[in-house]
Each structure stands twice: as C-alpha cells, then as structure tokens.
Chain length 178, copies 2
C-alpha cells in the first residue's frame, strides 16, 4: 500500500496557503520553490486540489492559489481523497464467486466478511485523517517548529503572497502570530 508523493506536497502547500494574509494568493511557482519541487509536477496537484474545491485559483498576473475555505474546515482526509481518489484502498473483486461450482447470485447478498473487515480498517484510517485540520498542522508547526524554520517560512510567505482586491471570508492563520 502506498500513497503518492503528491499527498505530502499537497498538505504542505495547503498549510503554507493557510498562512497567507487575508485573501492573498501565492503563485504555484513560489509553492514549488518552497519545497524544492518541479513547478509542473506541483501544478498537477494544485489543479487537482482546485478541482476538489480545497484551493481556489485566481487567474491573471497577480493571481495564484489560496485556500477555498478556512483552514479549520479542511481536513487531511479532504486532501488525501482529492489527491488519491475516493475509492477505498481495498477493492473487493468478489473472487469468492469465481470458484469451480457456480452458485446462484442470491447466495452472495451479504457482503463478503473479508471485504467488511478491510472496510472497517479503512474507516478507522479515514476517521483519523478527518480529525486533523489544516489549521491543526499550522498550529503544530507554530508550537513545535524550530524558530529558524518558522522565521524562514514567514519571510517566504510575506515575500511571495499577492494581495487581492476582492474580498474573502478565509481566516488568516499566520504561524508567527500564534
């Protein structure tokens, strides 16, 4: 079982965008620079997050990305499902029906116990991811991050964020201010 590398990039980007001021945006190129990633690689994931309405993309020369809603309302589960897809990790192929003796479909009305057990574990995984908000990630970083790293992150955000004219209801959450 493996999650794509895009999950790490997507969560870090969301946490960074949670730190921009007001309704400012940050260009994809700056987010790529912040984590040493290829801009074209990251763009794919930023577009996926935008399609999932986790990010908003503002076009134009002063445009970029910002959170589509408050960081308190975006969970790690939202991001993982956006990047990896909503299908469960375990996909029951109903191989129990493939044996040499063909039995009427009415014998398989109840779900396979193996599938049920695997789905129960997956629900536990998803519940744990749903408990963690992007705002929690920023708060953890503010509380536990090294001051040198926090100072560099805040300076980077201040240098690359692009204030917008139009209003936004997104709350500001700057690790330096917590």
């Amino acid at each position: 079982m493996k999650l794509g590398e895009g999950v790490e990039a997507a969560i870090h980007c969301a946490a960074t965008l949670a730190s921009v001021e007001g309704n400012s945006t940050m260009p994809g190129a700056a987010l790529a620079e912040a984590f040493g990633l290829s801009p074209s690689y990251l763009l794919k994931h930023l577009n996926t997050l935008t399609a999932a309405r986790i990010l908003e993309s503002v076009p134009g020369p002063a445009g970029g990305y910002r959170l589509a809603r408050a960081a308190e309302r975006i969970t790690l589960l939202d991001i993982v499902l956006a990047v990896e897809g909503r299908e469960p990790a375990f996909r029951c192929g109903e191989i129990r029906r493939n044996g040499p003796v063909k039995i009427d479909a009415s014998a398989y009305v109840r779900p396979c116990g193996i599938n049920a057990a695997m789905m129960k574990a997956e629900r536990a995984y998803r519940a744990a991811l749903a408990e963690v908000k992007v705002s929690d990630m920023v708060a953890t970083y503010a509380a536990e991050g090294d001051p040198r790293s926090i100072a560099a992150t805040c300076a980077f955000v201040e240098r690359h964020q692009r204030p917008q004219k139009s209003g936004s209801t997104k709350q500001i959450q700057n690790p330096k201010q917590m």
Copy 2:
C-alpha cells in the same frame, strides 16, 4: 491509495487453508481453482506468504500449502504486510527541508507534524487490521455465509486437501463444524 489485488486472494487462501483437516495441505493449483485465479499469479502470493511464515510449503507429489500456525494467531495485518510490504503508505520525503533557504539540520530534529499525523492514521488502520484473525474470518463465514456456498467450499476442501504423515500443531477449523 490502493492495495494490490493479491491481498484479497491471500486472505481468501489463508481462510481456506484454515479449513483443511489436521496437518493436511492443499496444492496451489486447487487454491487458484477455488477463486478462479491464474495459478502462476497466485503462486507468487503463496510464496510471499510462505516467506513471511504465514504459510508452510510442503514439497513433493502429496505436498501443497498449509497455515504455518493456528488461524487464531494470524491476523489480517500479518497478511497485508506480507503481501504489500511493511513500509507505511505515507512516506515522508522531508520536502520541508528543500526550500530556498537552507537551514541547519538541527532545525529538523523533531519529526514533521504532517508525517506524525499521517502515521497516527496509519497506526489506526493497522490496529484495526491486527484485531481481526483468520479464525474470525472463518467464523464469520460459518455464521453468515450462505449454506450453499459453505457446502460447496467444504466439499472443495475435502476433495483437494492432502493428508500428511508428519504431525502439526495447527488447529482444525472447519466451517461445517462450527
């Protein structure tokens, strides 16, 4: 995130082998037939389970596979880790260090909060899988499976199991006897 199809096959095979009598074995070809799978495809997974000491492979014309220990001592987690590998699904690439400002490694002594949150969810997933034993799967099948399906499975096991001369401590767990 996706688990390989081998997980479903591996769990079904382990549950089937939990139903053979005493220290009997079942050939890989019969297990493949039981689930309509390609024998060469299934062999790969049976060998993986054998290498992980979940199954035992008995060589020779009367050989085959059997559980390496009692079904009560094999969990779904054992099987998933054997088939999929023991690495976590989320693999932290420490991209937090890749930004434009290079900061001394001493700033990253504490694990990344994002990695910690992802690992917490993975522990919940693994804990749920570790709670379910192969014997539970057999018991669920015996309690909830359709009588036609159970009868066909038991007849298949009785037809294909191969009694062995050497002793085994594995407990018998036949769904027909539960």
